[in-house]
């Protein structure tokens, strides 16, 4: 068992410090459970799957947005671990934030499929060499944890900005040959104040994405594609 000092930022004016002993393979989430079970039952945090699939336990660990369940404490290479709620999102309590601002932007890009042929009965064939199949394998892994959204410097100063995850979702839908809502999505993406042109290529989103999605790549690809939007509309 290795001793660690956990600093939990429960509010701007309250930081609680706990000494926790952890096994080598234990995660930040394990440490939080240990604190709640043995030290302070009032500590609030959120988690669900515990295997990095649901995105519920995203929080700031030593200043970087991470999934608590996928962050082994030993990999932080620090005996003091500072845990805080995700920045740029309203805090509900302790480490629990509201993802409402994230999903407000998410909804704006019409994340659901809007089929071109709603009455179609046949399964769509997507060849392995089609743009959708070639460009999207990794980008489809988003678990909507909000890490990219909270780490985005542009979002920090522009509350109307779509954020990387919503833009990535719109990108997937635009590439999807079954989709028929390109015009509406392009209007949202092309918005001068809140659309993808606000991205300043900081790479914060790419660096924190727990699923390894290259979100800045998505945005720069879309920026180039937006120079010829007819490509999406001509389908």
């Amino acid at each position: 068992m290795n001793p660690y000092l956990f600093r939990i930022l429960r509010s701007p004016s309250r930081t609680d410090i706990f000494q926790v002993s952890l096994e080598e393979r234990m995660t930040v989430l394990d440490a939080l459970f240990s604190i709640r079970q043995e030290r302070d039952p009032t500590l609030a945090f959120r988690c669900s799957c515990r295997v990095g699939m649901c995105g519920t336990c995203a929080m700031s660990v030593n200043g970087t947005a991470r999934l608590a369940c996928r962050t082994r404490v030993v990999t932080l290479k620090s005996k003091t671990v500072t845990v805080a709620p995700l920045p740029n999102l309203p805090v509900i309590r302790d480490l629990v934030v509201s993802l409402d601002p994230f999903f407000e932007q998410w909804k704006r890009v019409l994340p659901a499929l809007h089929p071109r042929e709603p009455a179609a009965k046949d399964l769509a064939r997507i060849p392995a060499d089609s743009p959708y199949a070639r460009q999207t394998p990794r980008k489809r892994d988003c678990i909507t944890c909000g890490a990219c959204f909270s780490a985005c410097g542009v979002r920090g100063t522009n509350r109307g900005y779509l954020g990387p995850a919503a833009i990535n979702k719109a990108f997937l839908r635009l590439l999807d040959p079954r989709d028929g809502a390109a015009t509406q999505r392009l209007d949202v993406l092309n918005d001068e104040y809140s659309g993808l042109w606000r991205c300043h290529t900081q790479f914060n989103c790419t660096e924190v994405c727990p699923k390894g999605i290259d979100l800045t790549d998505t945005i720069t690809r879309l920026k180039r594609a937006m120079l010829a939007p007819g490509r999406w509309l001509a389908r």
């Binding site: 410097g153 290259d214 720069t220 180039r224």
Partner: protein, 111 residues
């Protein structure tokens, strides 16, 4: 993020330089005497050192601008951090030294 911050900082510094530059050149409209007087102010050794600093700021801003343009064109995307250290800091540092050493020797020390 470090690259982005440095690009903003160097951009602001260049803005200050641009203001001073335009203001000094504007003295030409007041006649040769006024211009010479303005230029004499910048012959102070402190400004010679600041001139060397300006070289560094211009090189860093320009090379990081090239890096951002490459990224926008889809080149070097996955190696963006390495691109910053190799192109903007590494190559930029060498360029800076190539310019700063002669500037220091012949303009500040006046060898």
């Amino acid at each position: 993020m470090a690259a982005w911050r440095l690009q903003r900082l160097t951009g602001l510094l260049l803005l200050v330089y641009l203001f001073l530059h335009v203001r000094t050149v504007h003295q030409l409209s007041q006649g040769p005497a006024a211009f010479n007087e303005a230029m004499a102010f910048f012959r102070h050794p402190v400004f010679k050192l600041l001139e060397i600093g300006l070289l560094g700021v211009v090189i860093l801003h320009a090379l990081n601008g090239v890096r951002i343009t490459l990224i926008d064109l889809g080149i070097g995307h996955r190696r963006q951090a390495r691109l910053f250290w190799i192109l903007s800091v590494g190559a930029g540092g060498l360029l800076f030294l190539a310019g700063a050493i002669p500037m220091f020797l012949f303009s500040v020390l006046k060898l």
